[in-house]
């Protein structure tokens, strides 16, 4: 089923399979998260209160400041990171942070990836091919 495989730009990091957590909202590690508890903490965020730990996090665009570049590795080291970060549009900060953290990341799909995948879907992210596949 071809509609189960979504093609993005070649990404960063290793291949991973995990459950998806999806919202049509944006992402910043500093602005949106309680990184100690591993949950979204910004009241206005559509995922506020939800845990992102171990999930393939699928959101619209990277937002916010530059701190996320350090924070992704710090979160990964504490095993409090998402399994992968999938965005419609990454920005340099997220790419830099993913590279530094060895965290899988893919962006720039043919269409809105937050509409293609649903929360709870099990997906495989393959950054070398730039793909997200629903299993």
């Amino acid at each position: 089923m071809s509609q189960q495989l979504f093609q993005g730009h070649v990404g960063i990091g290793p291949r991973v399979t995990a459950e998806a957590l999806v919202a049509s909202d944006n992402f910043s590690a500093r602005y949106d998260l309680d990184r100690i508890k591993g949950v979204f903490s910004r009241q206005q965020h559509k995922l506020c209160g939800q845990s992102y730990v171990g999930k393939v996090l699928i959101l619209n665009a990277a937002k916010g400041g530059v701190a996320s570049a350090w924070m992704l590795r710090e979160m990964t080291a504490r095993n409090m990171a998402p399994a992968a970060l999938i965005l419609n549009f990454a920005n340099p900060i997220m790419a830099q942070g993913a590279s530094f953290a060895n965290l899988p990341m893919v962006d720039r799909f043919d269409g809105d990836i937050t509409e293609f995948v649903k929360t709870g879907d099990k997906v495989t992210v393959d950054p070398a091919k730039g793909t997200v596949k629903i299993l």
């Binding site: 665009a61 701190a67 549009f89 340099p92 790419a95 942070g97």
Partner: protein
């Protein structure tokens, strides 16, 4: 000896863990860059070159560009023990392998070591700060601890390629100075420092710097908080990092501080690193030039009225007048802002129920000391901090430790950030902030 040391450092750097690293040869590298990538100049430059190539490939960069200056964001809250240990691993390498290759300066730190106990920051936080500073010094990084480096250290120059960290500092360098930088988060700014280069993509390229969206402003913001609010209104409409807003209708040059607050808010709300202001910023002499085409190609402007700008400011206004802390920061205060603040506080007393904090750079703090401004602010009960910025100094923890929830500031940027940190932030003019700090409750009302 060196081999062991390098192996140990490699282990700390976890370079061997980056198994996925693939250089697809689409990105052209010089012999020197290839040598760094191959590890011939030690593990630090290998990590740095891998970081450069990884990010470069992700954004389809053709090659690298040499950079003139690096601005490094690395406060201990963002670093955590993991990234501080990483830096300490670099710091243990032999000097020829670890020293930076471009002038490298730092963004505000997280702990003012002269004042942290007053703010109930912990020894653990201070120690992480001390360890980071020691590691950066070993790498040859200059601890300027400022986000207003374009006002105080070395202003960028038109066309100069940079690797700047703080979003406010980057957007000012790109927009007001016409220099060229992407947002370089800490790990990438450090990579740029260690290699002297950054991938040539994004805002290093002419075509990316062209105007994208057009806003026509029908008024002039009245104070710094309104300049910030205007930046916030534009920023909220930005869809991605790559969208370049063009603002027309500002009839005469704003001050550096006004552009600083406008840009910092725009970058914070919008995550975009460049704006043009026609007739004001160097790459926007007129609309046709900035949109790079005939008059017909200039997009129809979205009108921005004063009502929209004040509505953004008022949207943060609370229902009651309770006040815990007043903060002037983000960006750090210029000498002019310190002078204004000192003038507003002169002969008055901050209410005991409220804490008033101003953060500035070490250079401006020193000038303020010399000119008696620090004394005026502190005599009124205000606290002047140097080399830090409020949101980067464990804002959540100091808020909880000091019982601060309702926060008032004239910085739209800090109001945006602190909503995620457990505060109830609100935006007001510096005058309203000071009047409220003195009264011990919020004075005035939404406009």
């Amino acid at each position: 000896m060196c081999a062991n040391l390098c192996d140990a450092a490699s282990a700390i750097l976890k370079i061997s863990a980056i198994e996925y690293f693939e250089w697809n040869e689409n990105m052209k590298l010089t012999d020197h860059e290839s040598a760094m990538l191959a590890g011939e100049e030690g593990p630090a430059r290998k990590y740095a070159m891998e970081q450069v190539v990884n990010v470069g490939q992700f954004f389809d960069a053709e090659d690298c560009v040499e950079i003139a200056q690096v601005h490094l964001m690395a406060d201990p809250e963002s670093l955590g023990d993991e990234c501080v240990s990483f830096l300490e691993g670099l710091a243990e390498l032999p000097e020829e392998e670890r020293l930076v290759r471009a002038p490298t300066i730092t963004d505000p730190r997280g702990v003012d070591l002269q004042a942290y106990k007053r703010l109930k920051q912990t020894e653990e936080q201070a120690n992480l700060e001390r360890r980071s500073i020691a590691a950066f010094r070993a790498l040859g990084v200059m601890m300027t601890d400022t986000c207003i480096n374009y006002q105080t250290i070395m202003p960028p120059v038109l066309g100069e390629h940079l690797a700047f960290g703080d979003t406010g500092s980057s957007i000012y360098a790109n927009s007001v100075m016409g220099a060229r930088t992407n947002f370089e988060g800490g790990p990438s700014a450090l990579a740029a420092a260690l290699t002297g280069r950054t991938p040539r993509y994004g805002f290093h390229l002419d075509e990316v710097r062209k105007g994208g969206t057009h806003f026509e402003v029908d008024h002039r913001p009245a104070d710094l908080s309104e300049w910030g609010a205007l930046g916030a209104v534009v920023g909220r409409q930005m869809q991605s990092y790559w969208e370049v807003p063009v603002i027309s209708g500002i009839d005469s040059p704003p001050t550096s501080d006004e552009l600083k607050h406008f840009g910092a808010a725009l970058a914070s709300f919008g995550s975009t690193p460049l704006f043009h202001m026609t007739g004001i910023t160097p790459e926007a002499p007129d609309l046709q030039t900035v949109f790079d085409g005939p008059a017909a190609s200039v997009p129809v402007a979205t009108s921005l009225t004063r009502a929209e700008v004040t509505a953004l400011r008022d949207s943060y206004w609370p229902a009651d007048d309770r006040l815990d802390v007043v903060v002037f920061a983000a960006p750090q205060l210029s000498l002019m802002e310190m002078r204004t603040l000192a003038g507003l506080l002169k002969g008055r007393r901050v209410n005991d129920a409220v804490t008033l904090i101003a953060t500035t750079s070490p250079e401006i703090k020193s000038a303020s000391d010399r000119m008696g401004l620090t004394e005026l602010i502190e005599a009124s009960g205000g606290i002047v901090l140097e080399g830090v910025c409020f949101y980067q100094m464990y804002a959540r923890e100091i808020g909880e430790a000091n019982g601060w929830k309702r926060l008032m500031s004239n910085s739209a940027k800090i109001v945006n950030i602190l909503g995620g940190y457990g505060y109830e932030p609100m935006l007001a003019s510096m005058t309203q902030c000071v009047d409220s700090a003195v009264a011990g409750k919020i004075i005035g009302s939404a406009l």
